[in-house]
């Protein structure tokens, strides 16, 4: 009994830690949304930005820029990460190469975004300027691809790992080649997990700022082509705050971003839950 009573305080502290984490999230979300939601209107989402030096205006061009860099990064990183995951899980045993690839992906995931940005600036903006157009959506998107790749790779590999070996064996047993059994059996089974990985990658790309700051240009004009410079939403928050302290636009943009990120988190959470339930039921 004595021991039981003595554990009340530590257990209460652990509950406190859990609740504190939740409260921190809620405070940040509520603060941003309470100030940002009133700013959001059709005009705000589709309108043109304010003239230089003025506050207010719409954020349409920044939404388009976010979509552009995110789309490009996904276009490059999705096939590489899913293909890489298939290679790691289906085509190799525990070889040194596999260890090297895993390690590389882990290191890549840990490299600070500003360093990836420095690289993207030198390689895409300066070195490949004739192709990318210098500071542009292409440069920004390709730089982001380096950050999306390891996230999607890891999640896709986890998803492939959960596919039961019996399914592969059954498919191979009836005469399918390895690639055939991958496309017809393994990939469809692992699809929710793979999509989760890609959505997580999208979340990373949408929320990234530092790398974008050095590669995308920052122009508020609506992009006419992917070789144009632009200013994604994250960069817009930073720019309107530091340039002329336009908190209204910053709140509105942050609220749009938060809603996008929350949607992404909820979708992946639901997908993963259904997926694990389905696998357990198998």
């Amino acid at each position: 009994m004595e021991a039981k009573r003595r554990e009340l305080v530590p257990l209460a502290l652990l509950w406190g830690a859990g609740i504190a984490t939740l409260v921190i999230l809620i405070v940040i979300l509520v603060y941003i949304l309470a100030n940002g939601l009133p700013v959001i209107s059709w005009q705000f989402l589709t309108g043109e930005p304010a003239l230089w030096g003025q506050t207010g205006g719409g954020i349409y061009s920044t939404i388009v820029a976010t979509l552009a860099v995110t789309g490009i990064s996904l276009l490059v990183a999705a096939p590489l990460s899913v293909g890489g995951a298939i290679y790691l899980n289906e085509y190799t045993k525990e070889t040194p190469l596999r260890k090297v690839i895993r390690q590389a992906a882990e290191i890549l995931a840990g490299i600070p975004s500003i360093i990836v940005g420095l690289f993207g600036f030198l390689f895409f903006v300066i070195y490949l300027a004739p192709i990318t157009g210098g500071w542009s959506m292409i440069s920004g998107g390709l730089t982001l691809a380096f950050m999306v790749l390891p996230i999607s790779l890891r999640t896709s590999e986890e998803a492939l790992k959960t596919v039961p070996t019996e399914l592969r064996e059954g498919s191979l047993g009836i005469g399918a080649t390895r690639w055939q059994s991958i496309t017809t059996v393994v990939l469809p089974t692992a699809l929710p997990g793979i999509i989760t990985g890609l959505i997580l990658g999208v979340g990373r790309a949408v929320g990234e700022t530092a790398a974008i700051l050095l590669t995308a240009g920052g122009s508020l004009n609506l992009i006419q082509s992917l070789r144009d410079p632009g200013r994604p939403m994250t960069l817009n928050i930073y720019d309107v705050l530091t340039e002329y302290r336009d908190t209204t636009t910053a709140y509105g943009t942050a609220a749009v971003l938060i809603i996008a990120i929350l949607a992404i988190t909820l979708i992946t959470d639901v997908l993963m839950n259904n997926y694990t339930k389905k696998l357990k039921g198998l």
């Binding site: 859990g18 939740l22 530092a210």
Partner: protein
């Protein structure tokens, strides 16, 4: 649920000669996808080092130990000193980790051992959401809420080491929580059952069995959190004040490697730009050392 039907394609290809070629081509393409991560690392290192290393060698040790950073009127090597920036990075990082570790590990223990299923159903996605919030939004929150609060409460500008700690510790929580939770969950059930069966209370079991058994994973999570903190750019850039001085109090402004690079890359040219890439190399070295320690910690994991 999954039906495996040998499609017409499968049957017709079975004896086909093209099948072999196709399989090999696919295997080769997948191999290329696989090594793309390795190529990516290689590319990043090559370009950063090619731009920054010559400067680092030319500037010599004074780059790291000199305290004068005056990039725009630099005629002598002595004006390229990043010592205060390195100190700023370390102070900001260690403080954030010192605040974030107790809360993060406690929350991980709570998630793994104490939380009833419904609470966990809410808390796990919340931790993920915390990880998903863009760093610029944290910086925004810090600039409009935490900085004015510090200014009002403690004086000064508000943009300070303390503001950076308060924002960064929140940002590294998800890293510490998710990895620590996994490693506590990975402790074999027998350990816990054995401890409880011998009459230990839940708290005694957590303190003397579960946490020690998961310690390598917990340490790795803290080191990775440290990596996240030292590499964080936007939030620090917005709340730390960006003054290249060694702070004399926690309410004084400071600067970090990441923030200084982000701040000055916009207008840096020539040697100045090379110096920023050299700072990138220093930052990269910190990250690699931390990654190495994290690997060591998790490799030391007790084999069950």
């Amino acid at each position: 649920m999954i039906c495996i039907k040998p499609s017409r394609e499968v049957r017709s290809l079975r004896r086909s000669a093209t099948r072999d070629i196709r399989e090999r081509t696919v295997a080769l393409l997948l191999l290329l996808c696989g090594i793309s991560s390795v190529c990516a690392i290689f590319l990043i290192i090559t370009f950063i080092f090619a731009e920054g290393l010559p400067f680092l060698i030319q500037a010599g040790p004074s780059f790291l130990i000199s305290s004068v950073w005056r990039p725009t009127d630099s005629f002598s090597a002595g004006l390229w000193g990043i010592f205060p920036i390195i100190v700023g990075s370390l102070i900001v990082t260690l403080g954030a980790v010192a605040i974030g570790t107790p809360l993060g590990v406690a929350c991980a223990v709570f998630l793994a051992e104490i939380a009833p299923a419904p609470v966990r159903r809410v808390l796990v996605p919340s931790v993920n959401a915390l990880a998903g919030v863009p760093s610029v939004v944290y910086g925004f929150f810090g600039l409009l809420v935490i900085v004015p609060w510090i200014r009002g409460q403690f004086g000064g500008f508000g943009t300070s080491v303390f503001a950076a700690w308060l924002i960064l510790f929140i940002m590294i929580l998800p890293t510490i929580i998710s990895i620590s939770t996994d490693s506590i969950r990975a402790v074999p059930r027998e350990y816990k059952e054995g401890s409880l069966a011998m009459g230990a209370t839940r708290w005694q079991t957590i303190r003397s069995v579960l946490v020690p058994a998961a310690s390598s994973g917990i340490i790795a999570s803290v080191i990775l959190g440290m990596g996240r903190a030292i590499g964080e750019t936007m939030a620090v850039l917005m709340v730390a004040g960006n003054s290249v001085t060694i702070p004399d109090s926690i309410f004084a402004p400071t600067s970090t490697l990441t923030a200084q690079i982000a701040l000055e890359m916009g207008y840096a040219t020539g040697a100045h730009r090379e110096a920023l890439f050299a700072m990138g190399i220093v930052l990269f070295a910190f990250i690699m050392i931390l990654t190495g320690f994290a690997n060591l910690a998790s490799r030391r994991r007790i084999t069950y």
